[in-house]
């Protein structure tokens, strides 16, 4: 069974700083997703990573996938307050079973 772990669980960072969230998974995953969740809201898809070496960027967020290391990263560049949210990675098991990581609660302060 696929297990997905994220670290850190909590991240408090100053505006303008850079940081990386890590997502490790235990067994082969067809693909890797990153989602964002604002408090009291639903999950919003950020990135879909389909193959080894995949890198995707949207604004200040960049996601990458290393299938050999079973690792995905979400890099935050020059953080702003609007990025404050909980970020989840998710892997796919048995083709269609989406397994989520523990989530990383990000807080960006001035």
């Amino acid at each position: 069974e696929l297990k997905v772990e994220q670290n850190p669980l909590f991240l408090s960072m100053q505006e303008g700083k850079n940081y990386t969230i890590y997502c490790n998974y235990s067994t082969t995953s067809d693909r890797l997703y990153w989602y964002r969740q604002d408090p009291g809201k639903s999950l919003e898809s950020l990135f879909v990573l389909l193959s080894n070496g995949a890198v995707k960027q949207e604004g200040r967020l960049m996601a990458s996938l290393d299938t050999k290391a079973r690792l995905s990263t979400l890099h935050i560049t020059a953080a702003v307050h609007d990025l404050s949210a909980t970020y989840f990675c998710a892997g796919v098991y048995n083709t269609d079973k989406l397994i989520f990581g523990t989530g990383t609660r990000l807080q960006v302060f001035p």
Binding site: Y33, Q37, E44, V48, D96, K97, L98, F100, G103
Partner: protein, 115 residues
């Protein structure tokens, strides 16, 4: 148009009651899911339906029963509600088809509070 919609958004009920949460998707996806998010924000898959057939049934109590009248709908019925059932329940859908990799789209969630 809302892609995945759940009703109700909030549900407060007493222990022992039976309740249902409805979910509908208008994306034409063939797979729908129910997830439970607890107070610590952990998301756990409960059920998955593909073309009206149950393909995943996680270790959830049999008080929870998914019902799919057609591939656009996946309702969740809960019998004899317990305090520990309090959580946010998310419905989601995706297109599961080898070679087509779509992410799951989530509904807005149903916050269930059992008192």
């Amino acid at each position: 148009d809302t892609a995945v919609s759940q009703t109700p958004k909030y549900l407060v009920t007493q222990m022992g009651n039976d309740k249902s949460i409805k979910c509908e998707q208008n994306l034409g996806h063939d797979t729908m899911y129910w997830y439970k998010q607890d107070s610590k924000k952990f998301l756990k898959i409960m059920f998955s339906y593909n073309n009206k057939e149950l393909i995943i049934n996680e270790t959830v109590p049999n008080r929870f029963s998914p019902k799919s009248p057609d591939k656009a709908h996946l309702n969740l019925h809960i019998n004899s509600l317990e305090l520990g059932d309090s959580a946010v329940y998310f419905c989601a859908s995706s297109q599961v088809w080898r070679g087509v990799d779509t992410e799951a789209f989530f509904g807005q969630g149903t916050r269930l509070t059992v008192v």
